[in-house]
Symmetry: C2
Subunit: 124 residues, 2 copies
Amino acid sequence: MKDLDDRALAHIADYFSALSEPLRLKILNELRRGSRNVTQLRELLACSQANVSKHLGILARLGLVTRDAQGTSVFYRIADSTVHELCDLVCGRMASHLKTQAEVMKAFRTAPIRHARTVSPRPR
Amino acid sequence: MKDLDDRALAHIADYFSALSEPLRLKILNELRRGSRNVTQLRELLACSQANVSKHLGILARLGLVTRDAQGTSVFYRIADSTVHELCDLVCGRMASHLKTQAEVMKAFRTAPIRHARTVSPRPR
DNA sequence: GTGTTATATTACCATTTAGTAATATAGCGA
DNA sequence: TCGCTATATTACTAAATGGTAATATAACAC
């Protein structure tokens, strides 16, 4: 990631954006176990058909999943193995972060956030 | 990523969400070269001070960057080495994806997207 | 053909978000 | 103290986004 033009950057942002919705993460997580059609996902994730179709469309448009039509059903599967690595990375990081975060929360439960700016003197 | 409760999922989504904005990616990319204060980032990225402060606040709140106040300046640096791995993963994937995408675009420049559902017969 | 099922899409609403201008706050130098 | 600089925050607007209900489309069974 050295010299990034705006188009490439927008693509990367879009990619992360696809992963920034809980329902889409649930879909991808479910698809890790194998190919699923819309109805299966709708039942597994307890959401509306229109909604799951919409999110699948987003994931497909960005190339994270692929469509496989079989009769009236459309089966989706993960197209991009990078998805697994990304999620694992974030999950691993999340574990340690949540751990420390929980301790911070316990200490400062009700205290207001203050941006102390007196930490170190200005270098000269 | 086996059994995900909704809170953990929301955290992961938030994490990806932080990476889903071009300007924030630019900031993180710039911070890879070392610690930078707000004014430096403002000049390097050619954006308003309020905007870069806002985005830095988002990144800091999620723990991707840390603050280091020195006098009237506040220096930020990447707090989470995972950021690098994530971006590299996506960039690597992007390269191959854009390559094939470009060829697809060349072929179907003006053609409407059609969802062919006659690929394979329904299994019985 | 009709009816049924599966999926996609459209139109809409509510919420969120990026950006800006203006203001507030904090540290520094004189 | 009084400016001056650096950063954060507030209030606001415009645009994007998630969700839903209704509709459209396509494949199958009959």
